[in-house]
């Protein structure tokens, strides 16, 4: 430790004490130090040594400064030995810091501006890095392909525009493809709807995924406990489940004896509620499809028997190509297989590299954001370049004096380079800090569907990116100003008595500002485009009143599940056969007769809450995460079954339309009197016609005009159309009108959703609703309690995310370019002070002076706008090719940015113009 300290002290002294003096100075210091050390110990002596050496350095420096000629001497032979020529000198750093302390505004602005640009770009780079650049972890991932069914006929249908070429395949197709020579192996998976886990806890919802036995090994997913599924489990019922690592930790506390533990699952789709056995636990971080991440994996054979009977496809297939076979060749090879087996409608197939499908495709819109961030960075850079130009001008006298005293051009250059490097490093560090926050915000607000978001963060790659970015920006944008400054002819600058030389044409600064204006227009156009998209989308009529609406949804299968519901696994196992039977009987009774009372009771409890205006029940509700509507083939009475239309069905209570705010166009609503007949879902169907309410689109499609009083047939049942209601959007704002029929849920049997109309604060009422229902029936599994506003917001999360980011980028660009313009104006006014003073003295009015400033700046703005508008148009076209669902280029996507920018420019010019107008010729001309 002493050695280190001494080395430091010695090097400092050798630098600042003349070389012929430094020996004795050191020797005597060392002697005193040794003495002191023996008295006070190493630590205190060390402190003493530092103070002593500091006093030597300070005094010798002060002496040097009192002798100005030393500067000249320094660059001669004597100085050379004292100051070793290393590229970066601590003195340069110190002098930079000193200057910044004197002008904190300049340094702060430059660093903040650059940090903003670097931070934004870095944040998006970290996203892209995590999502795009990393290779998938799957073994030999280049040979893995996703196999999609393609339904050419669905291409034209708006509802299936996004899904027509990525359809699921059937079991038969899977079997044939496994045998096809193109593939080494084909695995299958299926993401399941929410299932009810009846694990150790009370009833809960979890995501599950069915997988074939070969899928996990194919993807290289390893187990930390237990075994994979077996081949036999692909085709027959099985009791096995595999837990993800996360579920194991969360639900079983990472218990090591979890293998062989029971897990009881109730499945909405298959209706089985059997006890299962945990056979394996996955390694951490299983996220094959990204979203939603399943907690429990089931063998695909569980529902195989049921599914094999239907010809429809539900399987997602992943194939491993034979070595050496290209994706295209394999694609042609299997075409006939798929077309031959899927006969419900014309079907072809499409192979997509799995890495592209699940790894890169979801990231494509991110490139756009990255581009936006890069533009912002570019603006920040030009802004800082402008700042540096201005700063350089202010420093010309200083540099000139240095040069006159013998500071070489290289020496001055070195000083500037050090300053710029310092700027770059500080900006990069600030940028990283900003990026850290932005990434947090990004994770919190990003729409679903971007894979591997959770693994985002700042690692060495990202940090290196930020540093390189900082260095590059300063290199590219600092070198010009630095060169201009270092070349300043000393004589010229000094001849002007240290006053600024008037440069008539600040071309560099003008170019920088014009560039900023042009880039800002591009970014503002992006903001206008995405903003317009979002506004148009949310302005679409929904067919119901969303404000003040709350939705509560229950697990549909909770009734069968009740045999176990409300009990822990322990309690359930402890039930005696008698208790079991009694429980079952109570449930049967509830199911057959008491359900209406039960549901009506629930609805009564909710309507009694203060603030609730109306309550209705339905099988489902618009914008719920899971669309539970089913489809029925309807035809006008008297027409053959072949003319039937597939129609979405919803079952509702009489209060549903009022509570939803769905407008009744013709006819009447359901009434309690309609309830004497049976619902179509009743086990004992009665004959005779039943009432039905239809949507306007269904009326238009089937009847063309007023449908009230006419009849519809579904199978052998007849329905009287009693009313026609407005079309309602179900999943997206932009979806086309869908033909929907509303059955009367007179027995409430299929009611699993309550729609609650409140007098205002829907969010505030939700906790009370939840509590009331929990008290009323602790067994009710509530899956969703949301306000409609929230559900709607979620359905547009992607659009809102894009709009928000693009508006942030646009606003940042606007502020930066306005600041740049302001700087230009201030500089011009300063340059022309004398000229303006003379003009005022000769009778120019303040208005004339203002006009002078405006005219001067407008030229630059105009150049920027002229360059910006075509760039913006091009950028919008590129954006539209990358992101679907955007409106075509409207004139105001371009006009609005130009206008906004003009307004900002006006504001930026106002203050300098005002200052110019206030110039007093008496004061200025006397200077």
């Amino acid at each position: 430790m002493t050695g280190w300290l001494w080395r430091r002290v010695e090097s400092r002294l050798r630098r600042d004490v003349p070389s012929d003096r430094v020996g004795p100075v050191l020797a005597e210091l060392a002697e005193d130090y040794a003495e002191r050390r023996s008295k006070t110990g190493a630590f205190r002596a060390g402190l003493w040594l530092l103070t002593e050496s500091r006093s030597l350095v300070v005094e010798y420096r002060r002496r040097d400064r009192r002798q100005p000629l030393a500067l000249v001497v320094e660059s001669g032979g004597d100085g050379a030995s004292r100051r070793p020529r290393i590229p970066i000198d601590a003195a340069d750093l110190r002098s930079a810091l000193r200057r910044w302390r004197r002008r904190p505004g300049f340094a702060a602005t430059a660093i903040l501006t650059l940090a903003l640009g670097i931070g934004t770009t870095t944040a998006l780079f970290s996203v892209i890095d995590a999502v795009v650049f990393r290779l998938p972890p799957w073994p030999e991932s280049d040979r893995l392909v996703a196999i999609h069914a393609v339904f050419p006929e669905r291409r034209q249908l708006p509802a299936s525009a996004a899904t027509w070429n990525r359809g699921a395949l059937s079991y038969q197709a899977w079997d044939l493809l496994r045998a096809a020579p193109a593939f080494q192996d084909v695995g299958a998976w299926r993401s399941n709807p929410l299932d009810t886990t009846l694990g150790e806890d009370r009833v809960q919802m979890v995501e599950t995924m069915d997988v074939s036995s070969n899928l996990l090994p194919m993807l290289g997913v390893r187990l930390v406990h237990g075994r994979y599924f077996t081949d036999a489990e692909d085709n027959q019922n099985s009791d096995s489940v595999i837990l993800t690592y996360e579920a194991w930790q969360r639900r079983y506390g990472g218990r090591s004896d979890v293998i062989g533990q029971p897990a009881i699952l109730g499945s909405a789709s298959s209706g089985d509620h059997g006890a299962r056995v945990i056979v394996g636990v996955l390694e951490p971080g299983f996220a094959f499809t990204g979203d939603p991440v399943p907690e429990v994996l089931l063998p695909i054979g569980i529902s195989a028997q049921a599914s094999r009977r239907t010809s429809g496809g539900s399987l997602r297939l992943v194939g491993r190509l034979q070595p050496g076979l290209s994706v295209d060749a394999a694609s042609t090879a299997i075409q006939a297989v798929v077309s031959g087996v899927e006969r419900r409608e014309p079907t072809t197939s499409r192979l997509v590299a799995l890495a592209e499908e699940h790894w890169r495709r979801p990231a494509r819109p991110l490139w756009l954001l990255f581009g936006g961030a890069a533009l912002l960075l570019l603006i920040a850079c030009t802004n800082v370049a402008g700042l540096l130009l201005g700063e350089g001008r202010a420093r010309r006298p200083e540099i000139a004096i240095r040069a006159a005293l013998g500071g070489s051009q290289g020496r001055v250059m070195r000083q500037l380079v050090v300053e710029h490097a310092l700027l770059a490093i500080l900006s990069a560090v600030g940028g990283l800090l900003l990026a850290h926050w932005m990434i947090q915000a990004f994770i919190a607000t990003a729409p679903a569907g971007i894979p591997r978001l959770a693994s985002l963060g700042i690692d060495t790659r990202v940090a290196a990116f930020a540093l390189v970015l900082g260095a590059l920006t300063m290199l590219v944008f600092g070198i010009g100003p630095a060169l201009a400054l270092a070349r300043t002819p000393a004589a010229e600058a000094l001849a002007q008595g240290g006053r600024d030389p008037v440069s008539r044409r600040p071309l560099g600064l003008r170019a920088a500002v014009a560039t900023q204006v042009a880039l800002a227009i591009v970014l503002l156009a992006g903001a206008a485009l995405f903003g317009e998209t979002l506004l148009r989308l949310t302005a679409q009529p929904l067919g119901f009143r969303p404000d003040g609406l709350a939705i509560v949804s229950f697990e549909e299968t909770w009734l069968p599940g009740l045999t176990r519901a409300g009990l822990t696994a322990e309690e359930y196992r402890a039930l005696t056969p008698a208790q079991h039977a009694e429980r079952q009987q109570r449930l049967d009774q509830l199911w057959s007769t008491g359900w209406r009372l039960h549901m009506a009771g629930a609805m009564d409890r909710v309507s009694a809450l203060p603030g609730v205006v109306a309550v209705g029940g339905g099988r489902s509700a618009p914008f719920l995460p899971r669309d539970r509507r089913s489809t029925t083939a309807l035809r006008p009475a008297g027409r053959p079954a072949s003319e039937a239309e597939n129609v979405r069905t919803q079952s509702v209570t009489e209060g549903y339309f009022d509570a939803m705010g769905v407008r009744l166009l013709r006819g009447r609503n359901f009434s309690e009197a309609d309830g004497t007949t049976r619902s179509p879902f009743s086990p004992n169907r009665s004959t005779g016609s039943r009432p039905i309410v239809i949507s306007r689109e269904l009326e238009r499609r089937v009847f063309g005009d007023n449908a009230v009083g006419r009849q519809l047939m579904a199978g052998t049942s007849t329905y009287d159309v009693v009313g026609v209601v407005e079309d309602v959007r179900w999943r997206q704002h932009a979806e086309p009108d869908t033909a929907t029929c509303y059955f009367f849920a007179d027995l409430y049997r299929s009611v699993s959703t309550l729609v609650i109309r409140t007098s205002g604060d829907a969010a505030g009422i939700l906790p009370a609703v939840r509590d009331r229902l929990r008290i009323y029936d602790p067994n009710l599994v509530i899956t969703t309690t949301e306000t409609m506003d929230h559900l709607l917001a979620r359905s547009t999360s992607e659009e809102r995310f894009r709009a928000a980011l693009s508006v942030i980028f646009g606003a940042g660009a606007l502020v930066l370019s306005a600041t740049g313009l302001y700087g230009l104006c201030v500089r011009r006014v300063a340059d022309r002070r004398r000229e303006i003073a003379v003009r005022v003295a000769l009778g120019a009015r303040p208005d004339n002076v203002r006009a002078l400033v405006f005219r001067d700046a407008w030229r630059t703005v105009a150049v920027g706008v002229l360059a910006g508008v075509p760039s913006a148009i091009a950028a919008v076209q590129v954006t539209r090719s990358l992101v679907g669902g955007l409106p075509s280029l409207s004139s105001y996507t371009i006009a609005l940015p130009a206008l906004v920018l003009g307004a900002a420019a006006l504001v930026a010019m106002l203050l300098p113009a005002q200052r110019a107008a206030a110039i007093d010729p008496l004061v200025v001309l006397k200077e």
Binding site: S55, E59, Y60
Partner: protein, 108 residues
């Protein structure tokens, strides 16, 4: 040749004079701190010694000190001009003091 000496310069000259063959920077400083009862920084003593040498009031020689860092010590002594300067400064003090005894007290 040189202007009037500063107070500190006089003090340093006197310390060098007293220390004779021991007059290196560190000893000079200790002597001043000891007698003048005031803290002086190492740097200011060394700079002043250098300055006095440049003015020709001090001369110095190096003696080897092979076992310590730096390898040598510098011993100062007064040149004739230095001696004259010191005398001159003391005489000036005495002259200025003349008649002020009732107020300032005796020169020890």
């Amino acid at each position: 040749m040189h202007g009037p000496l500063g107070e500190f310069e006089v003090v340093v000259l006197m310390a060098v004079l007293r220390l004779a063959d021991e007059a290196n920077g560190s000893a000079v400083r200790q002597d001043i701190e000891h007698r003048a009862k005031r803290k002086v920084s190492r740097g200011s003593v060394y700079v002043t010694l250098d300055r006095l040498e440049e003015k020709g009031l001090l001369s110095s020689r190096l003696i080897d000190a092979p076992r310590v860092r730096g390898g040598s010590k510098r011993i100062f002594r007064l040149t004739p001009a230095g001696l004259k300067g010191a005398r001159h400064a003391v005489a000036m003090f005495v002259r200025m003091h003349d008649g002020l005894e009732p107020v300032l007290g005796k020169l020890s």
